[in-house]
C-alpha cells in the first residue's frame, strides 16, 4: 500500500497533480469519511423514503378523508418546491424552534439532512407507488378473489408484485435523483463528499485536482446505482408485460 501512496507523492512532485487524498494520512481519512457520509446519507434516505412512500400510498388508499388530504398536500408541497428551500426550512425553521434546554440544537444537521431529503424523495415515492397500485387492473384482483384468495393474499401475491414492477422504472429515476440531491446537505455543513472536498482544497490549494476527483467520484457512484437499477429492472422484467 505504501508503494501506491509513494507513487502519488511522486506524481505530485513530478507533474503537480496533487492528490493529497492518497498520500496524506489526514486528507485520506477526511475524504474517506466524506465519501462514507455520502453513501450513508444515500442509503438511509433511500430506505426511509421508500418507507414513507409505502406508508403514504397506504394512507392514500384509506377511508380517512383527513389523512388522505394531509398526504395530498404533503406531496404537493415537497414535489413542487426546490429541495434546497425544504432543507433550509427544516434546518433553520424547525431546527431553531426545536432548541434543547441548554440552547444547543436538539437535532444535528446530519439528521435534518436525512429528514429533509427523505421527505423530499418520499413525496415522489408516494405518488409512484399509488399509481402503481392503481395501474393494476381491477379485474385481476377480481380473478384472484374468485379463485379463493383472501383480500390480504390477493394483495400480497398478485396486486403488490405487479404494482411494484409497474413502479420500478419511476422509482429508479427518483432514487438516482435523490443520490444526486444529497450534495445539497453541503449547504447546512453536513460533512459529506462535497463538503470535505471543499475543506481539502482550501487547505491544500489543489482545487482543479479535487474538482475532477469529486466529479469522477459522483459519476462512478451514480453510475453504479443507475447500472444496478437497470439490471434489476431487466431481471424482473416479465416477457410480454408492459412495454
Amino acid at each position: 500500500m505504501q508503494l501506491v501512496w509513494d507513487w502519488f507523492r511522486w506524481l505530485n512532485e513530478s507533474t503537480g497533480i496533487n492528490l493529497t487524498i492518497f498520500y496524506d494520512q489526514f486528507d485520506r481519512s477526511r475524504f474517506a469519511s466524506g465519501f462514507l457520509m455520502t453513501v450513508k446519507l444515500s442509503v438511509i434516505c433511500i430506505v426511509s423514503s421508500v418507507v414513507i412512500g409505502v406508508v403514504g400510498a397506504w394512507i392514500q388508499g384509506s377511508r380517512l378523508r383527513v389523512a388522505r388530504t394531509i398526504v395530498h398536500w404533503y406531496i404537493q408541497a415537497f414535489r413542487n418546491t426546490p429541495p434546497l428551500v425544504q432543507l433550509y426550512f427544516f434546518y433553520f425553521g424547525l431546527g431553531s424552534l426545536l432548541k434543547a434546554a441548554g440552547g444547543g440544537p436538539l437535532i444535528t444537521n446530519v439528521t435534518w439532512a436525512i429528514v429533509s431529503l427523505s421527505f423530499f424523495a418520499g413525496a415522489f415515492n408516494v405518488e409512484i407507488f399509488r399509481s402503481g397500485i392503481e395501474a393494476v387492473p381491477r379485474t385481476t384482483l377480481e380473478a384472484a378473489e374468485s379463485l379463493g384468495f383472501s383480500r390480504a393474499q390477493a394483495y400480497l401475491r398478485i396486486v403488490l408484485p405487479l404494482a411494484f414492477r409497474i413502479s420500478l422504472p419511476a422509482l429508479n429515476n427518483n432514487l438516482v435523483n435523490l443520490v444526486k440531491t444529497t450534495t445539497l446537505a453541503y449547504a447546512i455543513a453536513v460533512p459529506e463528499m462535497l463538503y470535505v472536498s471543499s475543506q481539502i482544497w482550501s487547505d491544500e490549494l489543489n482545487v482543479p485536482v479535487m474538482m475532477n476527483v469529486l466529479l469522477i467520484c459522483y459519476f462512478v457512484l451514480v453510475g453504479i446505482l443507475v447500472y444496478l437499477m437497470h439490471r434489476w429492472e431487466r431481471a424482473i422484467r416479465v416477457p410480454g408485460f408492459g412495454i
Binding site: E145, F149, V238
Partner: protein, 250 residues
C-alpha cells in the same frame, strides 16, 4: 349426467340487485342440477355477467336467495366464508385475467398452493396434467403476454379447474377472441361438460349453446324472459322478445 330428481346444486330464488338507482336484476329464479349445463343468452346489459358475479359472491345481492351446494351465498359476510364458497365455484372471465407476472404453470399452481395449502409437488403434477388437458403442455413456462388470446383463456380454464370446483362459471369467455381461436376454447369447455362438470355459461355462441346446454335461459332487462330446452327455445320461442332477439342473432 344430470338426474332429473336430484336436488339442484345451484338454486336462485327471486334475486334482486342494483347499482345505485339502476336495478340490474329484477327477481331472477332458476336452478341447475348437478352435472347440468345451463346457457344464459340475451342482449348486452341484460344483467348476465352480474348474475354470474352474484353466484360467485363477488357482488352482494339486494334481496332473494342464492344457494350453491351447501352455501347460502346471500348470507356469506366474512372473507373466510366467501373463500370457502369460491373453492366450490370457479369463474372464467371474458378478459382471461391471468396474473401477468407468473408463467402459465405458476398461474395454475398458485391458488391450490396458497389457498388450499396443498403440497406444491403434487399441485405441480396436477397443474401439468391440466395444462396437457387444455392442450398447452408445451407452453407451461410461457408468460401470459407471450400467449395468444385463446391460449390465455385455456390457461384460465385450467387455473379454475385446479381448484377442483363443483361448479364452473363462464362469463362470455369467447367474446374477446379471434374467430379461429374460439373453437379451441369451446372444445375445452365441451370436454368438461361431457365429463359431468356443472357449468353455467353466459355466451353469444348460439350453436354451441344449442349443442351443449341442458337448459337455455333468455334474459332481458334484468329478468328471465323465457327458459327451456335448447331445441324448444331456439326453434319455437314462445315470447316475442325472444323471437326478436334470436332473429337478430341467427
Amino acid at each position: 349426467m344430470p338426474e332429473a330428481n336430484s336436488e339442484p346444486i345451484v338454486a336462485l330464488r327471486d334475486v334482486h340487485q342494483s347499482f345505485g338507482d339502476v336495478e340490474v336484476l329484477k327477481g331472477v329464479s332458476f336452478g341447475v342440477a348437478k352435472g347440468g349445463v345451463v346457457c344464459i343468452i340475451g342482449p348486452s346489459g341484460s344483467g348476465k355477467s352480474t348474475l354470474l358475479r352474484c353466484i360467485n359472491g363477488l357482488v352482494p345481492i339486494k334481496s332473494g336467495s342464492i344457494r350453491v351446494a351447501d352455501f347460502e351465498v346471500h348470507n356469506l359476510h366474512t372473507d373466510q366464508e366467501k373463500i370457502a364458497l369460491r373453492k366450490e365455484v370457479s369463474m372464467v372471465f371474458q378478459q382471461y385475467n391471468l396474473f401477468p407476472h407468473k408463467t402459465a404453470l405458476e398461474n395454475v399452481m398458485m391458488a391450490p398452493i396458497y389457498v388450499l395449502k396443498e403440497d406444491p409437488k403434487e399441485v405441480r403434477e396436477r397443474a401439468i396434467a391440466l395444462l396437457t388437458k387444455v392442450g398447452l403442455a408445451a407452453k407451461q413456462d410461457a408468460y401470459p403476454g407471450e400467449l395468444s388470446g385463446g391460449q390465455q383463456q385455456r390457461v384460465a380454464i385450467a387455473r379454475s379447474l385446479a381448484m377442483r370446483p363443483e361448479v364452473m362459471l363462464f362469463d362470455e369467455v369467447t367474446a374477446a377472441l379471434d374467430p379461429e381461436t374460439v373453437k379451441e376454447v369451446l372444445n375445452t369447455i365441451r370436454e368438461l361438460a361431457r365429463e359431468g362438470m356443472t357449468c353455467i355459461l353466459v355466451t353469444h355462441e348460439m350453436r354451441f349453446a344449442r349443442e351443449l346446454a341442458d337448459e337455455v335461459l333468455f334474459t332481458d332487462g334484468g329478468t328471465i324472459v323465457e327458459s327451456g330446452r335448447p331445441a324448444e327455445l331456439f326453434d319455437h320461442p314462445r315470447k316475442d322478445r325472444t323471437r326478436a332477439f334470436l332473429s337478430q342473432i341467427l
